[in-house]
Amino acid sequence: MKAAYIIVIVILIAVAGGVSVALIAQSAEQPIPFNHKLHIEEAGMECTDCHLYAVDGVRATIPNLDICGECHAEPLTESAHEARVAEYVREGVPIPWRKVYWVPEHVYFSHRRHTAVAEIACETCHGIVGERSDPLTRPLVRLDMDACMKCHKETGASNDCVACHM
């Protein structure tokens, strides 16, 4: 009799383990270790300097080549990684950044509505990226439905399903 119980427990543990491994593997490897902290504090930049459309676009977008190219056409420091950026810029090949913050395909999230209209700071949803010097491999703040709805309830924004599920 005990054997049966044991088998069931073992199965459960295996499944849980497998899932957590899968979750960790989900974390993305960035092609170039980008240091947010360096850019914000030393270079004194703002989020919207690189993520141009964070305020007036639907998607904030990851900066493309010519934004990086503005400063990094030639290497500013000696770090090897930064040299690779200049190399990318010279070849004109877009840097294959990995997108870390996802909104599921069936959700319509517009940055402008949150940043421009509701004046929400970037950190609320993206976590304090400014202080991270190592590259982002996993979302700092888990963006799930409960989080969004909780915030919507607090700020009085509509929790009508069709507001986000278009």
Binding site: H106, S158, V162, H165
Partner: protein, 239 residues
């Protein structure tokens, strides 16, 4: 809050089908193909043109109703949905939440107006037709029920514009795809609760009637009958 509704003037509508096509393109519907459409009758639109005949042989008259979802205030489909995938929103929109719908199709059986449709197979667009998809409207996978949404992505967009400009929503800010494409300007859309809006004016006109309003579902799409001098008023002929 608002109570979105629509008025379709049958006296103006010329059955040209522009609304059917506009809805099809705006909401990324996909054609199901000849085999599925003719042999299995699975072709579907969110807005259909209903032919209704009245009168006998020689002087039969066809009347064409553009029929979107009526977004009833007392919707039979919402009552029966086991998971709350279809629900009556705060502003009167009967929403259909695709990620929650389990595809049991009970709402299709319950809707007296057949306003709900279903993707029997995964929708495909031959060649690279996908690239034309409207990014504002999500693509629905197979197995979920879908319906006319009164183009609520346009409602949200108009609200966003209005809020960005710091003003309230005005009548006429929002035109669904069907109303926008209609050459005869037969479709009006607006807030039924706002007494100054065109829609509520028309909805209270003497010519206004609703299809099967005896069922108590309180539909929010009003039709205006054809005016007699433009042809026998079919309402008197016992539609």
């Amino acid at each position: 809050m608002a109570r979105w509704g629509m008025v379709i003037d049958l006296d103006r509508c010329t059955a040209c089908g522009a609304c059917v096509a506009a809805c099809h393109q705006e909401n990324n519907l996909a054609a199901v193909g000849p085999e599925e459409a003719t042999r299995h009758s699975r072709a579907f639109h969110w807005l259909r043109l209903l032919p209704e005949a009245s009168g006998a042989h020689a002087d039969v008259r066809m009347r064409y109703f553009p029929q979107p979802c009526f977004h009833c205030d007392n919707p039979p489909c919402v009552r029966v949905c086991p998971v709350g995938a279809t629900y009556l929103g705060e502003e009167g929109i009967v929403g259909q939440i695709y990620p929650r719908c389990i595809g049991c199709r009970y709402c299709m059986a319950a809707c007296p107006f057949n306003a709900k449709v279903f993707n029997w197979y995964d929708p495909e667009w031959p060649g690279d037709l996908e690239r034309k998809a409207n990014p504002d409207v999500s693509l629905r996978p197979k197995g979920v029920v879908e319906k006319c949404t009164f183009c609520h992505h346009r409602i949200n967009r108009a609200r966003e514009e209005a809020r960005a400009k710091g003003r309230k929503l005005r009548d006429g800010d929002i035109t669904p795809a069907c109303a926008e494409s209609c050459p005869a300007r037969a479709i009006e859309f607006g807030d039924l609760e706002d007494p100054r809006s065109r829609v509520s004016a028309l909805a209270h006109s003497s010519r206004a009637f609703r299809l099967h309003d005896d069922l108590g579902t309180k539909p929010k799409v009003y039709y205006l009958t054809e005016r007699s001098e433009h042809g026998e008023d079919s309402r008197q002929r016992g539609a």
